[in-house]
Symmetry: C3
Subunit: 109 residues, 3 copies
């Protein structure tokens, strides 16, 4: 067994939790902030058989990879401009930081 500690952005955490549930993987969610990723992230603790570690990492990669997303810019607050037009901008979202930890014992009561 390994303990997979995965820190992902909040916007991806519901989808990842659903992905774990579909595969019958039991994941515990902790609310976390800052640091590895921008503010507002989720730390998953997942107990995984050694043979399933690769699949678990793959699942996280599929659901949480860093990707570019087009958003509308916020309206300008420059009142010297005559319009409040917004325009599309690319922002980077998602991303996961993962630690795979060795385990001495795994128990369930």
């Amino acid at each position: 067994m390994k303990l997979v500690v995965a820190i992902v952005q909040n916007q991806d955490s519901k989808r990842l939790a659903d992905g774990f549930a579909e595969k019958g993987v039991r994941a515990t969610k902790l609310s976390s902030t800052g640091g590895f990723l921008r503010a507002g992230n989720t730390t998953f603790l997942v107990g995984v058989d050694d043979k399933k570690v690769e699949d678990t990492l793959e699942l996280i990669k599929e659901n949480c990879s860093t990707r570019s997303q087009t958003m509308m810019s916020p309206p300008s607050y420059d009142f010297t401009l005559e319009s409040d037009l917004t325009y599309p901008v690319n922002v980077e979202v998602g991303g996961a930081t993962i630690f795979v930890l060795p385990i001495d014992q795994f128990l369930q009561f």
Copy 2:
């Protein structure tokens, strides 16, 4: 030293924290959800001497094991029935998922 990560149901977490305190075991509590157990659980981080790991696991087992509990069913919302009788049902409560992790260094400042 080992780091014991124990995920238990909220309803057992106060009793387990008291059990740790009585034995002089210092445990840090993190609020967690879902996954290993039903929604609403607590993740304990406990630093334990190698010789005390078995006692710590025993303490968790005593306070958090899965057990059957008799509850009164919620009153029926079936308005075709003439009564709102409740009746006893058995539900499974408790349970703990535990990872015992090796430690390279343990420090206190």
Copy 3:
């Protein structure tokens, strides 16, 4: 790589987070309570290169060591006294409990 798990008092956590940021160290914050330290603490998860572990521990020590602090006592609620004088008292604040954990794999997507 190592995973440094550091539990510090809330009053030191902003300063430590700033210290990590200045050194370019990415730390994830989890809200925690009780146990190792008095109620209200913060658990940091920090992924650190083997060569940077000592520096990271030093940074935590500088920002979070247990120290004595002079505070004004709360006013007396003993109404038999004719004054509500407060007086300086020494209290111990701060402190950190740290686990340095080995890692099998560290990944970022």
